[in-house]
Symmetry: D2
Subunit: 160 residues, 4 copies
């Protein structure tokens, strides 16, 4: 059993056609799991729906608390890419004996050409196999939380 | 370094608009890796482009040979779902000391609502972590080759 | 008020993932009208759901009858491209005093890269303005039924 | 021969994945014409690539000038929906003896679920048939410039 904690980020941005702007409604994770014909036993919990640039320390605390209190020992977190590493660090600081994998997307799932479905398949797979620890799954790879950064020029996650 | 061996299957079917029928051209794997912003070090080899219902024993031999002769010790094979288990069995019979993961799709990648991108992300992730052996990665899960079947009524892969 | 008569064709083909083959279920026209935010007053009637290569003279009679008996004086017919001209001819033979526009698609709407939405927007627009007569709307153009053929090498409709 | 003048608007917005925001690059009109298998003789000119809320009187003058100086007597203009009616008015004030049809989209073409392709098919068709005048083609309908408004609560264009 895997818990999927949705926090928002580009992954879940959609286009509000009346406002002509990007916005959040509900997470697309359940729809993506259906599209991927996923049969992993998962439970999706929507913790918040925000841009990760607006995530506060209190928000990161909420995410870490949710990891701690979850009955599941394997957790996937969908998250904005800009501060994904910061949240991974905040979770790791709590020394939780679980496999926790953060993932996200560079392009919103709702926009056709997204990497979100690839990343979700990747994160769910890593979460089933990797030993306890906090990881970031992006670009098809899994990085330990303390050996990864987002290269802001290329938009790619890389080791330090 | 991971080798991706493309053999065809639903994964790579496309719509031939002059014939009004499904057909194969080249594999979509490179385009899918771009869409997934994949930065895993991979090499894609197109072994054949056929429906897995038309795959002969000789074809399965070609796939097993390609696994054996590959310089890479981690291999992903894209394959039609109907006889994926048979090919996994044929490869396992050769006792190759590599991690070999077969995957595919229930809906062609070219048709918008495909599970292919999810499955490719999943298979590439399993292939990086699982120990030597032959596996099938479908529906977000990884099955050892000798404990899996495709349920033809539901289209879902399940343990025996 | 415009009647939309759906008969099938590539327009409405979808992928049956259990059979691994193209198939018809219900017409996609209502979904396409929603996507196009269409506010033209229309009524959609599904006459049949077949490949136009399998359309018999009796089927063409059914389509012509439906044109004749429709309360609406403006009609759009979605149809397979292969015998669209034959059906247009069969309708024209009945000298119906209405504006009747046949359209279709080279790629199924369900397959992402379809011309169907473009053609539906085009056909509905021509149907609102053109005088009584039988027309084919494809490739952004409207052709009178007796001055059009499908070029089978290019897949494009052209004047004689 | 029809001139297509691209000015930007939601139609042409795309997602800048490094900035995590909506942005303009080049117009998608040529790609959309390819997707629609359009064989109408058109020439696409990109006048500007801006949000119509930022369009100035000078910009509207540029659009009207381009209509006036175009060799073609039939013109389609792609435009943001928010001030499309204002630009139509500015063009009509110049009494140009041509058929000029403005269209746009409520959702960016690049985002999968767009009405853009439907609207482009519609606008190009109306532009071929309607007499000289300035029109707005949205929601499958064509409105004279002086009898149309965008209902901001529903996002739908309607007569006055």
């Amino acid at each position: 059993m895997i818990a999927i904690l949705a926090t928002g980020g580009t992954f879940d941005k959609q286009y509000n056609e009346l406002a002509g702007a990007l916005a959040f409604k509900d997470t697309h994770v359940p729809e993506m799991l259906r599209l991927g014909r996923c049969r992993v036993d998962v439970e999706v919990r929507q913790l918040m729906m925000i841009d990760s640039l607006e995530m506060t320390d209190a928000d990161r605390g909420t995410v870490a608390d949710a990891c701690l209190s979850a009955a599941e020992s394997r957790i996937v977190i969908t998250h904005g890419t800009d501060t994904m590493v910061d949240t991974a660090k905040a979770i790791a600081a709590r020394t939780i004996d679980k496999t926790i994998v953060l993932t996200g997307a560079m392009v919103p799932y709702a926009f056709g050409s997204s990497d979100g479905l690839f990343n979700l398949g990747s994160a769910l797979s890593f979460a089933q196999i990797l030993p306890a620890g906090v990881y970031i799954a992006m670009n098809g790879r899994a990085f330990p939380w303390d050996n990864v950064r987002k290269n802001r020029e290329t938009g790619v996650f890389e080791g330090l």
